[in-house]
Symmetry: C4
Subunit: 125 residues, 4 copies
């Protein structure tokens, strides 16, 4: 079912890792996530370039989404080639060798009351 769903080039123009959290559990820590679905039968080799307001882009960050799997990748957890600094505006371009779908979600718990946002990323057509 749906073996070639999605696109190979995605953009998240908004990115921001809150510098702190007021979280009672790990699930409620502030996080910035790219949710990827590979509904196909081959592994997706994904490269992420991260762009900043000041200074050159960093990357590629490389990761794999296995066939028929989803991965919710937290920008907070990217470390190679280098971590993304908190409290800094960024954007990202996501390329995959096979079609995937990318959705962007942030949970912000800088205050005791969390806030959420989500949008399907921009797909180049």
């Amino acid at each position: 079912m749906a073996s070639a769903v999605g696109k190979t080039l995605w953009v998240i123009a908004e990115g921001y890792i809150p510098a702190h959290s007021q979280a009672s559990t790990p699930q409620l820590m502030s996080h910035e996530t790219m949710c990827m679905l590979n509904a196909g039968d081959a592994p997706a080799q994904v490269s992420v370039m991260v762009y900043f307001a000041d200074g050159d882009p960093v990357g590629p960050y490389r990761l794999t989404v296995p066939p028929r799997r989803t991965r919710h990748i937290c920008f907070n957890d990217l470390v190679d080639p280098q971590p993304i600094p908190p409290d800094t505006e960024f954007a990202s371009v996501i390329e995959s060798d096979v079609p995937i779908v990318v959705q962007h979600t942030r949970l912000d718990s800088r205050q005791a009351a969390l806030a959420l946002m989500s949008t399907v990323a921009f797909a180049q057509s």
Copy 2:
């Protein structure tokens, strides 16, 4: 009016059912919803496949959206072939035999102050 509005293949790359709620009323329980509109004159036979980070996809979940009706389907309520576990990342692919429109909304009331997010799902074109 608008008898063939929408697409037949939709993707929600983000999915997560919060494990608990602090809700004073049923409407404020944490929920993860796919809102579907069938503006056409024939029933929409819809199949939903749910993908996980670990383990094979589950489904299809089958449901019908009557003609000229909307259905706001809560992932929490899907039981056949099996319930979706809470506190687990998932994604979904939604196929319909006639054009529909799908929007994804989450209400998170794990804290006393609820959070909301919504996005039109990705439509394969």
Copy 3:
């Protein structure tokens, strides 16, 4: 500038008017909004059909967006042919005789801490 921006057929598959608010000011009342931009030089004659889970669609609600103007229409304020009941799931199809852009936003203040969501509506292409 940009005289034919947008599309003529839009869908908001998610709709819900919270039944109550905890709001200290009118701006913080719960509301469900379709934000329309008519960047062109002619008035946009807009028809909105509202779909429900149970019962036939209602409408058309007719409204005009003047040239080079935006209108943020609150579903709460639609009265002709009939008001939309609160605490009821609905969806809407928006047709215009000239291209417009439609974005969907909800402010939910059923709890003391408001929640927000927004997404560009689905545009039929």
Copy 4:
């Protein structure tokens, strides 16, 4: 990588600058943002027209996004030709001479508990 990502004409049909904030830090002040990514090798010359419910559009506001950079532009900070009034509904059309990607985000901290929303802007195709 990805030197011509995006589109040259974008629309944010929803715009609103909350009139006040309850913010403990500058990052938590209410703001309305257009996040732009220029992943290409040439500077992006961007013109923003702002539309209102009453009165003629204002602009263009002119800004530049350097090559391989992102800029998160706060509507609150636009001053030339004139500031955008708070507590007023608006919409915006964003044109660039090279492809960019635009995402719309609002942080609302009128109440102690902040709310967030985000969506990829509408891209004219």
